[in-house]
Symmetry: C2
Subunit: 251 residues, 2 copies
Amino acid sequence: MGLVSSQDHSFLGSTFDDYRANFPYQGDQLFRVLFERNQDRIKSKKIDIAANNLQKIFESTFTLSAKMGFHEMSLRGLSKDTGISMGGLYSCLSKKEDIALMVLDIVELVTTENNQLARAEANELISLEMGIKYHLYASTLLQPWFFFLYFETRSLNPENQQRSKNIEMNIIAMFEETIKRGLNKTQFDVHNPYFVAHIILLAIQDWYLKPWKNKQEDLSLETYSDYLFIMVKKLLRLDEGSLSIMQKNLS
Amino acid sequence: MGLVSSQDHSFLGSTFDDYRANFPYQGDQLFRVLFERNQDRIKSKKIDIAANNLQKIFESTFTLSAKMGFHEMSLRGLSKDTGISMGGLYSCLSKKEDIALMVLDIVELVTTENNQLARAEANELISLEMGIKYHLYASTLLQPWFFFLYFETRSLNPENQQRSKNIEMNIIAMFEETIKRGLNKTQFDVHNPYFVAHIILLAIQDWYLKPWKNKQEDLSLETYSDYLFIMVKKLLRLDEGSLSIMQKNLS
DNA sequence: AATAAAAACGAGCGCTCGCTCTATTAATCA
DNA sequence: TGATTAATAGAGCGAGCGCTCGTTTTTATT
């Protein structure tokens, strides 16, 4: 249920189309960003060529490692699938692990930005709604990236494993703080904010981890997002009545 | 419909201690079952020796592959960690993959039994409660097994990957059917049973996938189980009042 | 057209992998 | 105790790994 007027929430808007229209990490641009953020690893000089190769590398990596796992994926296999020779691969990478590190970098970047956008909402309920939407939207646009990081975190060294865990913990913390803020103003009624924040994260993760499950049930992104928000309101003991009152207070 | 008294719920009982006391897949017995169910893979003849070696093999496998992943774990590393020579390992295995197959076998066995036990409850709300409890209890007693299967499903061949997925789908289906049964009798009020069933599974999985998260928050098994059941009742729009009425009908 | 720079190539290096196989030790039983 | 079977040991095999590097091909500049 779309309850609030969209233009107030943030420059990204509250619908998937709005969000996508302003999302800078997609298509060509994503790989140009990747090139610029990883100059130290990449020997290639020309951004157009490098970005093009990076795109092939990540597309093939996601296909292959979803099937068999990142470690099981060999660089010879990657070379064959991308059509880039071994030498070509190593002009965009300094080592195999770099692929995983670049995924970590992008997912960390995007989720951090989403957390900030959600926190920027003054009203707690809207903050929750936007937090859910932004994370669902971003993880839809970058589904293979989020999926990869979740399952391949253990291929990273301990320090980067921790960075990956922190991405998750920061999302929970954002939701938990927002719920607690709402609690202090007796806006919400729930006795374990952490548990609810936790459940929200699980539902968001499930969206990008098991797309086949929702495809099977014919759940669209917007429907899933709505169900999730309705669920959250139930858990915070907000029925439709109390919600509309709040809505009125906003405008 | 016939309502049941609490001792009928199942021979396993409803507390963790009851469940554990009757749980056949723990300690020595687990590995003796494993030996008997996998005669074709195992060259060893004597059950005592084989069960003892299997125990070491699985303990080390869970330690090593939680750190680095199953594929990254080498059999030389496993040999060192268990203290069993390569030849010794291969008298309990026909190939490395057998380890993952045996984990799949056990988790499939236990969850199928739990689903049957939960379905056997005539009352829908109690069925949900028991379903949650049994799955939480079993995954606590066999935490490394459940954890391993979740993360290493992709090491399996397509056929067995499907078996692993089906374990998950069958749990969701069990909860979904129970919720729908309750809906038909207007016992529950919720408009997407699948979504709720789905969320229950996620919360159960999170319990065994990220024990460190709950340890950090100091959530015990019983507390977690209670929170989860309270959450489910909220999602089904059953407040404490309507619950006690139902409980009265039971006795 | 000549030259310099960048990109692409892929055989080969050193190493580790899963797995095998024979020699040896331990256990069991007549 | 000698005979037979089961368990263990660990060097060795071929395959495949990540990665390198001398060379060739393409592109850009003069």
